[in-house]
Amino acid sequence: MSARESILAKLRAAPKTALAHPDIAAHYQRFPFPDDPVGKLRHWARMMRSVKTEILWTDATHWPEALAEWADHRRPASLLLSDTPHGHQAAAALATRPTVPALRYFDSELDGWKEQLFHDVEAAFTRVRCGIAATGTLVLWPDAQEPRTMSLVPPIHIALFDTTTLHGDFHSAMHQENWAAGMPTNAVLVSGPSKTADIQLTLAYGAHGPRDLVVLAMLPDGISPAMLEEEGA
């Protein structure tokens, strides 16, 4: 008998009890995250900042400028972009600046240039699928254009986030977007830059993944950064 058959036979021989699947949605209806767009954004920002995330409020038209300003100030030596409309928009905005980081597109399989990615790329810029307010989270859905290592290997990850996709909690993100219907090769929830407290419980950022996470958070008409940063926010 193979290991598989033997394990399954043992499990099948065990006593059976019929138990219903619990109603998970009901739990999240009982303890919902308040559905107020400004409240959600404030909470999201507070949670993300509490784990050292930098948030730059912007909007759908001005984000390339915001990115360029950030780059002027921060001066990353190199920036990895995706071969996508937003990747090209970023490149165009950066090109107008006095100092332009060395730009590179993720346009070929990683196997040929793994070493360069590890040694020569300081920052990478990707899009975000959606956000989760309760925990201060971004959901990444890497694909052929924006592969998984972009948000992992370079020390700085810059994420473009459309804040209208902000969900209250993880359950509603998964539910409303029907993730169960088709998962990508890899989906990742990201809440801050990588960190560890493995040495004497002292928190240190930049464990193995990015040291810095910068979010270009695009606000819709009607919500201004001032509304989010008011007293008590």
Partner: protein, 484 residues
């Protein structure tokens, strides 16, 4: 020459180990402050007790439902993963699991494996097995990396190096890593580890990881972490091997939502970890990174023994948060090494007998004051004290006694003296005449009570009978009442 591998069971020396640990003041200091910190963090992560109660009830119900359908869910998981391009392997024993993993690495002539955190890989002693075949297995979780460099084993399932001070780690890095100056600055120490390991991800032929939840519905492996080393190990090398116990399967994708929340909040008091990594297959055509091959090894190693018994099955609800350890008055005084098992603390006391047999773990179910703290904090409501009582019973049950679900090592803690004592006790209590005679002689001969009474007098004053039996005292009182 025929050399037999020697297996050591440090778990057999639990009592000696515990005594040594209690005498180690440095260890006790680090443990105390770490446990206090983790307990405070956990309680602040659950400000609303109604929500906590409801979430624990939900977590328990999900785990019990998934276990009730375990064989079907494992088959469904296999089918979905296979459809997604992942190869699924089954192993009944650690030896089988090691052989499978070694075979996969050897097939590509691999020499370096980078490892994300995996307690199951510790359980099967994978590193030793691979090293014996000339394959280096490098731990990449910072805590595990430190512990491996020190030639030790993890002492906590979430915080492997919790027993070490930063000065000890500074000395270790300085001595073991070339060109490393001595520094106690934690940021600098982490940077040293980061740089060394980044080279390893780049060079490694294979990445190994554990699994926190395996979703049958979608064929998804979920990994919980803060550091990003798990993502590195599962993304950068061309071959990814995941290993997990058969109990980790959940039915639906949404099952992971409450379980993940319970896990991070109970374990370290964080609302969420930095990364929740959901892997559903190898690199697809057109994708530009990710492993081309992904394998999952499903390990039994005694779990089916726990499964066979409806009471003990609850052991398998565990989501390995470590909260029971952090709140255990025994663990917080002796630390993880004393248990001599992969899983220490209360969860270790109830799972290890299934993995290693009661013959190798017979003292573990007694490593508890039954204070109940573990059961009270367990996010999936495992009645740990009840499990401990049951395992004590099984470890005392005569080896020959036939029962429905015999446990490996049944009767391992049974002692002839104890059995004789209980037999005598039964005789005395079964007959009123003998009972009276016993009571009379015990009280009248109390001066002869032995000053050392087996284990009892190690930590207590000797038990001495009262001058008169309770019956006599009551009779005397009744007589006095009648007179007055």
């Amino acid at each position: 020459m025929n050399s037999q591998p020697v297996t050591l069971y440090p778990s057999r020396q639990f009592k000696d180990n515990a005594r040594a640990a209690l005498a180690d003041t440095e260890l006790r200091g680090s443990l105390r402050s770490a446990m206090d910190f983790l307990m405070a963090k956990r309680s602040s992560a659950f400000p609303d007790t109604d929500e906590l109660d409801a979430l624990r009830t939900l977590g328990e119900a999900i785990r019990q439902r998934c276990l009730s359908r375990l064989p079907e869910l494992l088959e469904q998981l296999e089918e979905r993963l296979t459809a997604n391009g992942v190869t699924v392997h089954w192993a009944e024993t650690p030896a089988q699991a090691n052989a499978i993993i070694h075979g996969l690495v050897a097939a590509r002539n691999g020499t370096l494996m980078v490892k994300g955190k995996s307690m199951v890989s510790e359980e099967i002693e994978l590193n030793h097995h691979l090293e014996a075949h000339g394959i280096q297995a490098l731990e990449s979780d910072m805590g595990e990396y430190i512990v491996q460099m020190a030639g030790e084993k993890p002492t906590h399932i979430i915080m492997p190096a919790i027993h070490k001070t930063k000065a000890q780690i500074a000395r270790l890095f300085h001595e073991k890593l070339p060109d490393t100056p001595y520094t106690e600055d934690v940021d600098a120490l982490i940077r040293i580890g980061r740089n060394a390991l980044r080279e390893a991800y780049l060079q490694a032929d294979v990445g190994l990881s554990g699994v926190n939840f395996a979703v049958a519905e979608t064929g998804t492996l979920c990994l919980v972490e803060n550091e990003g080393n798990g993502r590195m190990c599962t993304t950068v090398p061309d071959l990814h091997i995941a290993i997990t116990g058969i109990e980790k399967v959940v039915e639906k994708l949404e099952d992971v939502v409450p379980l993940y929340s319970l896990l991070t909040r109970s374990a370290i008091g964080q609302p969420i970890t930095t990364y929740f990594n959901m892997i559903s297959g190898p690199r697809r055509p057109g994708e530009k990174d990710g492993p081309r091959e992904v394998h999952l090894v499903l390990l039994d190693n005694g779990r089916s023994q726990a499964y066979a018994d409806q009471q003990l099955r609850k052991t398998l609800q565990c989501i390995r948060c470590g909260a029971c350890m952090n709140h255990c008055p025994v663990y917080s005084r002796i630390g993880g090494h004393a248990y001599g098992t992969t899983y220490p603390g209360p969860i270790g006391e109830i799972i290890s007998p299934h993995l290693l047999g009661l013959e190798n773990t017979r003292d573990l179910p007694t490593a508890s004051s039954l204070c109940g703290a573990c059961g009270e904090v367990c996010p999936v409501r495992i009645p740990i004290p009840e499990m401990l009582m049951r395992l004590r019973e099984e470890s005392q049950r005569p080896a020959g006694e036939a029962v429905d679900h015999p446990l490996r090592g049944q009767g391992a803690a049974a002692s002839t003296t104890e059995a004789l004592a209980w037999r005598a006790w039964r005789r005395v209590y079964a007959s009123p005449g003998t009972y009276r005679l016993f009571g009379w002689s015990a009280t009248r001969l109390r001066a002869l009570t032995p000053p050392t009474q087996a284990g009892w007098t190690q930590n207590h004053v000797p038990m001495t009978p009262a001058p008169k039996t309770l019956h006599e005292l009551v009779r005397e009182r009744e007589a006095r009442r009648k007179e007055s």
